[in-house]
């Protein structure tokens, strides 16, 4: 029987139920109105906003600004008063019509409820390693494009990273307890009970709508089975509370200023450095005929000037020829240039600057006897620091969370959210290497021509003109998140739920590439037209003006049903049993089209292609795929007097990504708890408010990083790109990778031991956990000999061990009227690739997987120091290259210079020397973990000792909060294309960053960090000096002031007089204002090791002025 048929019938039932329920609302007889005031038991101040509910129902209200409430209740019902920071209180309604209640500040948070998988638990009896954050985490933080951003340093075990500072494209990521697999490490995120298809969805959620987040870090996640390997994050959005309508408005405005980034030097510094590097290249003799030497010399003589070629005596009108001089200096023979520009433009300062962001949130919440609601609107406009072109990110949110009670047994919970985020960036944002995000800039070039036109010189464009005039790349993401849950308490101890979730992601990309005409400085010459008009090329790269459109439709739906039984026997045996099933399915569909050679740049339309009839002038594509997951799950909890706790969870998952007979797998988790503080012998000590020992063990799975249909041999079909006869032939090709029929889920075994404590009447509390995760059948791409001729399928042949510990401690107290809190947390997570089938090859620098080492390990030579004298150079050469025979890798040869008698090529004083670690007389690169050569392990890119500490204080209306965050240990080596900013003057003709200035070796400064300056012209001496070594890796440890807030809440008395506002708070916040880092190359310590593309977008600091206004 078809599932879909049944699904429809179930929906039919759902509809019927809704219909019946809506016509059979029951009223509640016998109840009468109760009024009262809630006050603080300590200082007798009235407490506004206290939730007053009737036990066992969803009826309730909130106290108003004077702490007063009104509520209808029957005499046999029980009123529950709860308020954050206070112990809840239950009071029988009785027959009195007035109830004044005093609440005492909570000694600890034992009454708090924690969201766990498919339900909630009391924090006191939770046995898993579960951390939570509440809505305060997302307050006062200024523009936040992704709520993950605000978690940095807040949660032990949660490491948050980003790869960029580009608005909307920060690529915020987080990991729970470090790497658990080489395949994808994104925790599963469940929003209001429904899993998100992928964590990109967090890019459009409104952080202001989040009530709390639970992080399931250990076996507690096992109930999510197949996808819980990296932990599970449960986000709960804010709901309405019974009581009068509350309108809250939170506006803020933020100013971003540039944070750490490499800064380019001024032209004179560049020129002097370049001449020095070239002279070094030439063994101490200035190469005065070399064009770039002449260029630097010419720049020094003409600083701040633009010298048109026409002003140079002897210029023939078309090209700079050899032998010309100008003002006594030889003119560099750069044949085709029209002028020499020596403006002192610091391109990094021209491109990047300040930006303003604004955010507005409005919510209306409240509710009555039958229903509660919270409606919220959000708007964020995040400005970009890139000062040219159209840039930014906007987010629009509408959310309606609503609960409706049809009867005492039957209710529905609805969450409806429309989210949209739009990202803009200039299309020619990375256009060749001389772009805004390119690896360098040309020295001396102006931003624009004298009249403000786009500028180009000798094949090198200044980025501003291209950014401004080259078109815009618009990305629009619309997400519709719907989920409804029917709750049905159909017998005394039973509760059933049925959830339908339907999340759709719709993306629309529109990328227009306009033609930009680039001129010489005085507008006299049209130097280039980029992209060129009309042209196209077979590979589809956007050489010409073109317009690209892409749409993605990605619906993801969930069906979840649960049935729970809760009972208590003899008041000491508390039992809960829950079982359920779910089905999830994703249907991804995207198409794209591109038209070249457009009739007009003014409007963007696919129909405007002038050459649409010609092959290659229109390209299109389509991708469709899907996957599904079917699951059964269950939980059993038992506790004896709330003292001895047991929880068991299980899950049985089937995935469409595996062949049928390897598809289903069961996962389980068991945890135990002992609330030692409840034991009488501990109670006698009268010291512990809470003391709980927790232990858990469980398994969870991962199927990420696996192709959707990898078990099926498929063939690609498309253009062969080969001309046969008079057409480009179609070809069928293999996918290039083998099919695996025997792979299955990765299974991570997680063990955790934890201790929660609370002492000094709850003033000091905290917890400590130690954990170990073992991924014994990790899916890895084993490297096979090249003779295989294809990439091998991943197989379950890896074994990764991750272990560590985490701790959090919080101290809350008050001194006089100053309430304060201090809290710190630290996590250490290490991992080791225990087993990795096949041979682990290594190369200098970054290696993702090497058996016996952590993921992301760096290898390289062991730095000995700088060669300080010629005698040391000779001895070094003699050691590694006796008799001039090179037996080394990367060691420049010392051969006699034909042109300079007595001098040799190769190393000189001021260059690095490296140790012969394996004492074989050779300097050799390692090849594999079995043969390290002279390489040593230099550390891992994976951070260790991630920590955060925060402090808060309140005094009268003032509040203060600050959080520091950092990483204790991390190694970074920026190889690859970021090289030319790491290695000064490796590209002699490009602008340099200031990292080396004043820090270069010389006989007078023997301890300077940088070796002799060299350009790439000399035998790769830079490659030798700057290769991966214990010298060239960066220390990625840092400490950062993540956020600091100063707020002031206007006095209540003032509010009462306004009759409009019930509360007004204004605050000033700063983010990323300060940090401590030892990075040499100028990048922020959070910048990736690759620093390519938008990873080069500079990080920023920002100041926020905002208000929280409650009506």
């Amino acid at each position: 029987m078809s599932f879909f048929y049944l699904k429809k019938s179930w929906l039919g039932v759902l509809a019927l139920v809704l219909l019946l329920a809506s016509v059979s609302l029951i009223s509640n007889a016998q109840s009468r109105l109760i009024t009262g005031v809630v006050t603080d038991a300590g200082n007798n101040e009235t407490l506004p906003g206290v939730t007053v509910g009737i036990k066992g129902t969803t009826r309730g209200t909130q106290t108003d600004i004077k702490g007063a409430f009104k509520l209808s209740a029957a005499p046999n019902e029980i009123l529950v008063f709860s308020f954050i920071g206070y112990a809840s209180k239950e009071v029988p309604a009785g027959s009195a019509s007035t109830l004044n209640v005093k609440l005492s500040p909570a000694k600890n948070n034992l009454d708090e409820v924690v969201v766990v998988g498919y339900g909630q638990q009391k924090k006191a009896t939770v046995t898993g390693a579960i951390a939570t954050v509440d809505s305060h985490t997302f307050q006062d933080r200024g523009p936040t494009n992704n709520p993950v951003a605000n978690l940095q340093g807040e949660v032990p075990g949660v490491v948050v990273t980003r790869t960029s500072a580009q608005p909307g494209r920060e690529n915020w990521n987080f990991q729970i307890r470090g790497a658990t697999s080489v395949n994808n490490q994104d925790p599963l995120v469940v929003l209001d009970g429904v899993a998100l298809n992928n964590n990109n969805e967090l890019n459009s959620i409104n952080p202001n709508d989040i009530e709390n987040i639970s992080f399931l870090k250990d076996a507690a996640a096992a109930i999510y089975g197949a996808r819980a390997a990296f932990g599970v994050v449960l986000i709960t959005t804010k709901r309405g509370k019974p009581g009068q309508m509350t309108i809250q408005y939170d506006p803020s405005v933020s100013e971003k200023v540039l944070g750490l980034q490499p800064h380019t030097v001024d032209l004179a510094t560049w020129a002097n450095g370049a001449m020095q590097a070239l002279t070094n290249d030439n063994y101490g003799v200035a190469p005065t005929t070399y064009v770039w030497y002449q260029y630097a010399q010419f720049a020094l003589g003409n600083l701040g000037k633009v010298v048109p070629a026409t002003a140079i005596p002897g210029y023939n009108g078309s090209a700079i020829t050899a032998g010309l001089t100008y003002n006594g200096l030889p003119v560099p023979t750069l044949g085709d240039v029209k002028e020499f520009d020596f403006t002192n433009t610091k391109m990094s300062d021209v491109l990047w600057g300040r930006a303003t962001s604004t955010e507005h949130n409005l919510s209306i919440s409240g509710g009555g006897d039958k229903n509660v609601y919270r409606f919220s609107l959000g708007y964020l406009n995040d400005g970009s620091q890139l000062k040219w072109g159209t840039n930014g990110n906007q987010r629009y949110n509408i959310r309606l969370n609503e609960d409706y009670r049809f009867s005492n047994h039957f209710s529905i919970t609805n969450n409806i959210s429309l989210e949209r985020n739009d990202i803009q960036q200039p299309t020619l944002y990375s256009f060749g290497s001389y772009s805004a995000l390119g690896t360098s800039f040309q020295p001396g070039l102006p931003a624009l021509t004298i009249s403000g036109r786009p500028y180009e010189w000798g094949g090198v464009a200044s980025p501003p003109g291209l950014l401004r005039d080259g078109g815009v790349n618009y990305e629009s993401n619309t997400r519709i998140l719907l989920n409804s849950t029917l709750n049905f308490n159909f017998l005394k101890h039973f509760k059933a739920t049925g959830t339908v979730g339907y999340n759709t992601w719709y993306q629309d990309d529109q990328v227009q590439t306009k033609q930009v005409q680039l001129y010489s400085y005085y507008d006299t010459n049209l130097i280039a037209t980029n992209p060129s008009a009309g042209g196209t090329n077979a590979s589809g790269s956007n050489l010409s003006t073109n317009y690209y459109r892409q749409n993605v439709t990605d619906p993801y739906y969930n069906l979840i049903g649960t049935l729970a039984y809760t009972n208590s026997f003899n008041k000491v045996h508390n039992v809960m049993l829950m079982g359920g099933a779910s089905y999830e399915r994703d249907e991804y569909d995207t198409w794209n089209a591109r038209t070249f050679n457009l009739a007009s740049d003014d409007v963007a339309s696919l129909g405007l292609g002038l050459s649409s009839g010609n092959a290659g002038y229109v390209t299109d594509g389509e991708t469709k795929n899907h996957y599904a997951l079917g699951s059964y799950f269950g939980r059993f909890t038992y506790d004896y007097k709330g003292k001895y706790l047991l929880e068991a969870t299980g899950r049985y998952d089937g995935s469409s990504k595996f062949i049928a007979d390897k598809r289903w797998k069961s996962f389980y988790g068991v945890s135990l708890g002992w609330r030692i503080a409840e034991e009488s012998f501990v109670k006698k000590l009268n010291f512990f408010d809470d003391l709980k020992l927790r232990a858990s063990y469980g398994t969870s799975g991962n199927q990420a990083g696996i192709g959707l249909y990898d078990y099926l041999q498929s063939l690609n079909v498309g253009s062969s790109n080969n001309l046969i006869g008079s057409t480009i032939a179609t070809a069928t090709t293999t996918t290039g990778s083998l099919v695996s029929l025997n792979r299955t889920w990765e299974t991570v075994k997680k063990a955790n031991l934890g201790l929660d404590y609370s002492i000094f009447k709850g003033k000091l509390s905290g917890s400590v956990d130690v954990f170990q995760n073992r991924n014994e059948n990790m899916l890895v791409s084993v490297t096979y000999p090249g003779t295989l001729g294809a990439s091998a399928p991943q197989s379950n042949s890896g074994d990764l061990k991750t272990w560590g510990w985490e701790a959090i401690v919080t101290y809350r107290d008050h001194i006089g009227k100053v309430k304060f809190s201090l809290s710190g947390n630290i996590t250490d997570s290490q991992n080791k690739l225990v087993h990795y089938s096949g041979v682990s090859l290594i190369s200098g620098g970054y290696n993702q997987t090497v058996e016996g080492y952590p993921l992301g390990s760096y290898f390289g030579l062991k730095y000995g120091g700088k060669l300080q004298s010629q005698a040391q150079v000779d001895a070094y050469n003699n050691y590694y290259a006796p008799g001039g025979v090179i037996n080394t890798i990367g060691l420049p040869a010392a051969t006699p210079l034909a042109n300079q008698a007595g001098k040799f090529t190769g190393l000189r004083p001021g260059d690095n020397w490296f140790q012969d670690v394996n004492h074989d007389g050779k300097l050799t690169a390692g090849t594999s973990n079995k043969d390290l050569g002279d390489y040593v392990y230099l550390g891992s890119d994976v951070p260790r000792y991630t920590f955060g500490f925060n402090m808060g204080a309140q005094w009268k209306g003032f509040d203060f909060y600050a959080i520091f965050q950092g990483v204790g240990k991390r190694t970074i080596f920026r190889g690859g294309s970021a090289n030319n900013w790491r290695v000064p003057f490796t590209s002699i003709f490009q602008m340099q960053t200031n990292s080396w200035v004043g820090n270069v070796w010389s006989p007078q400064t023997p301890n300077a960090y940088y070796p002799n300056l060299h350009s790439a012209l000399n035998n790769g001496i830079n490659n030798y000096n700057y290769q991966a070594s214990s010298w060239s890796v960066e220390n990625g440890a840092y400490l950062r002031l993540k956020n600091v807030v100063l707020g002031y809440t206007l006095p209540k008395s003032l509010m009462e007089r306004t009759k409009t506002f019930s509360s007004v708070r204004i605050y000033l916040a700063g983010s990323d204002l300060w940090e401590l880092t030892g990075i040499h190359d100028g990048w922020d310590p959070e910048t990736t090791r690759t620093a390519t593309g938008n990873e080069r977008y500079p990080f920023y600091r920002y100041l926020t002025l905002g208000a929280n206004i409650v009506f």
Binding site: M1, S2, F3, L6, K7, L14, L16, D281, N282, P287, T289, Y290, F410, F490, A496, G498, N537, A538, G561, A581, Y583, N614, E622, N625, Y627, A628, L629, G630, G654, S656, A660, R663, Y709, L712, Q713, S714, L715, N721, N722, L723, I724, S726, T727, I728, A729, A731, T732, T733, Y784, P785, G786, T787, L788, G789, A790, L841, L897, A898, N899, L1017
Partner: protein
């Protein structure tokens, strides 16, 4: 209310049950935009479509024009061979040539595996033959680079012991190549007309021509390393037979000859002695004064094909070619018009001026490189206006060559008005001239002698195509004897001159085992110093990295102190090539050695 509960309870039960029964099927999802291998391979066209990808394996402008494992710059034609040319290369961690060839071999084995169970084998015989041809093509590349390599002739799985097998012997690899080609030849089409929808596919002639190349390569490799005479003579015989089959087929002719015109497509011989030059830049838009197009080319047995609309080359062929310059050694190779080398010919005018050295020489000199007093074009900006060699053409040329800083190449430079990277001439993979030269060399090396008749049907056709009007005599036994020439030298010279910048030279030197004489020589540039007509102190054409020569083109020094040779020509580097015995084979990449312990490194590495 009771009824209500019932219906709700039913609903929940249905939900759970539906998942229970629905799951099994709802988890069986198949790709929506890929073809399933299981349902493919049912008709002949499936095999043909799969085989279409093989045509991308052929050498082409994008992978053979600049430095690559077979690059002329790594030999003595010009510089730019990097550390490989200098012989200072080291064992690389990985090597794309190794991986790419085995990936391609897998794709050939893939088709062959599927073909084995195809019920109507005759329908797909041609495509099976193509798979074998391309498997042979890839193994020959591996053989040239590494010598004997692991021989994989089936689809491997990750647990196949063959994956960790040892290297096959050189002989075994050669035998496999020969066997594949011999098996393929009968099933390939004899010929394909230019108008055919299959034009460009491998033909019998292409496979025979390739067999002639492979067999000659290995035969000479063995002969000049004291190999087994019976084996190399057998290979010579195979080479001779294969080349002769191409010659006898009558389907191919040198472009620009009457024989070629007889095969149709256009009157290429009206291009006269410049026909060869225009063949290399032959396009369908007007690319030569006669407006001859590709259909008139019967010289290319197999080529990597381009088209000015459907498939342009996509790299700056003409500009790159313009920037390259031959070494002095190559410039000295072409004969004088009396058929004698410059050392012997009274017609040679010496190096007194820049122009003097080009006088009375083989026409291939002026059609391969830029010579004194001539005009050259390179497509973008500097292109032919009228094609009449008139003032308009000259005015839009690169300028008359009068002063030059170094020797300049001109082969492959288009003359038509063509934007950068939009050229579309075909890249010759196997051309008839090479077949003829293979034939002559194989006969000579097999027998120690070659008859005038054999020379006239082969080498002399090549030589005289460009020199039919300037009085150059054919190579004959009598001429050799009369002038004290050496046959082997002259045969090899003909290859050196004719196959200039087609990336044969490095492999030729390797198989002849002649690096000790051919490569370990001074790298020479143009004359410098007293000769007139020179302005630049540096031979910018010689770009040579990894050695001391690098100092030259980078112009760090105001004046060279390098010595001059006996002709007054600058010696760029006196010890340019550290070419030793080990350099005849590239090293096996170290990662492969680490991955497969049975794999052994080539000697000396």
């Amino acid at each position: 209310m009771k009824n209500q509960y019932k219906s709700i309870f039913t609903g929940l039960a249905v939900l759970l049950l539906s998942i229970q029964f629905g799951c099994k099927k709802s988890l069986d999802l198949t790709p929506q935009d890929q073809i399933s291998d299981a349902t493919y391979w049912t008709k002949a066209s499936d095999f043909k479509t799969f085989a279409n990808q093989y045509y991308g394996y052929l050498r082409n402008f994008n992978n053979s024009f600049a430095d690559n494992p077979h690059y002329d710059g790594r030999a003595d034609v010009f510089g730019g061979g990097g550390s490989y040319g200098a012989g200072t290369n080291i064992v690389p961690a990985s090597d794309a040539s190794w991986n790419t060839n085995y990936a391609r071999i897998r794709n050939c084995n893939y088709l062959l595996t599927k073909a084995a169970t195809y019920p109507r084998p005759t329908e797909i015989a041609q495509y099976v033959a193509e798979a074998k041809f391309f498997r042979a093509y890839c193994y020959f590349d591996l053989l040239q680079l590494y010598g004997g390599v692991p021989l994989i002739t089936k689809l491997l799985t990750v647990d196949d012991p063959a994956l960790y097998g040892a290297r096959a012997s050189r002989d075994a690899v050669v035998d496999q190549i020969v066997a594949d080609l011999q098996a393929a030849i009968p099933d390939l089409p004899v010929s394909l007309a230019y108008s055919s929808a299959d034009y460009g596919r491998v033909t019998q002639g292409a496979a025979q021509g390739f067999l002639g190349r492979v067999a000659l390569y290995e035969a000479t490799w063995q002969k000049f390393r004291n190999g087994d005479a019976s084996r190399y003579n057998d290979l010579f015989d195979k080479s001779i037979a294969a080349s002769n089959a191409v010659i006898q087929s009558g389907l191919y002719a040198l472009f620009g000859t009457k024989a070629s015109d007889a095969l149709g497509g256009g009157n290429s011989s009206i291009l006269g002695d410049s026909a060869m030059k225009y063949m290399f830049i032959l396009e369908n838009p007007k690319s030569n004064p006669a407006g001859i197009t590709k259909s008139a080319n019967h010289e290319y047995l197999l080529s990597y094909r381009y088209d000015d609309i459907l498939k342009v080359i996509g790299t700056n062929i003409s500009r790159q070619a313009n920037a390259i310059g031959p070494q002095q050694k190559w410039v000295n190779a072409p004969l004088c018009t009396d058929g004698l080398p410059i050392e012997k010919s009274p017609l040679f005018q010496g190096f007194a001026t820049y122009g003097s050295q080009f006088m009375n020489r083989d026409n291939r000199l002026k059609y391969s490189m830029k010579v004194y007093n001539m005009y050259y074009w390179y497509g973008n900006i500097n292109y032919r206006i009228t094609w009449l060699n008139d003032a308009a053409d000259d005015a839009n040329s690169l300028g008359k060559v009068t002063q030059i800083g170094g020797y300049g190449n001109q082969k492959w430079m288009t003359e038509r008005n063509c934007p950068d990277a939009k050229e579309s001439e075909d890249y010759p993979v196997i051309r008839y001239a090479e077949v003829l030269l293979n034939y002559a060399e194989a006969i000579y090396e097999r027998n120690g002698a070659i008859s005038d008749a054999d020379l006239n049907k082969s080498l002399n056709l090549v030589r005289l195509r460009t020199n039919s009007k300037n009085g150059m005599p054919p190579l004959t036994n009598a001429f050799v004897a009369a002038n004290g020439l050496d046959f082997r030298t002259e045969i090899r010279r003909e290859r050196f001159v004719e196959l200039y910048y087609e990336n044969f030279r490095f492999d030729d030197i390797k198989r002849w085992h002649s690096a000790q004489t051919d490569l370990v020589t001074n790298v020479g540039g143009t004359a410098y110093g007293n000769a007139t007509g020179f302005v630049s102190p540096w031979p910018v054409s010689i770009r040579y990295t990894g050695t001391q020569a690098q100092l030259g083109p980078n112009a760090l020094k105001p004046a060279p102190t390098n010595p001059l040779d006996q002709n007054g020509n600058l010696i760029i580097d006196q010890s340019a090539r550290a070419f030793t015995e080990k350099n005849y084979l590239y090293p096996i990449p170290s990662s492969e050695l680490a991955l497969n312990p049975k794999l052994t490194q080539n000697p000396g590495w």
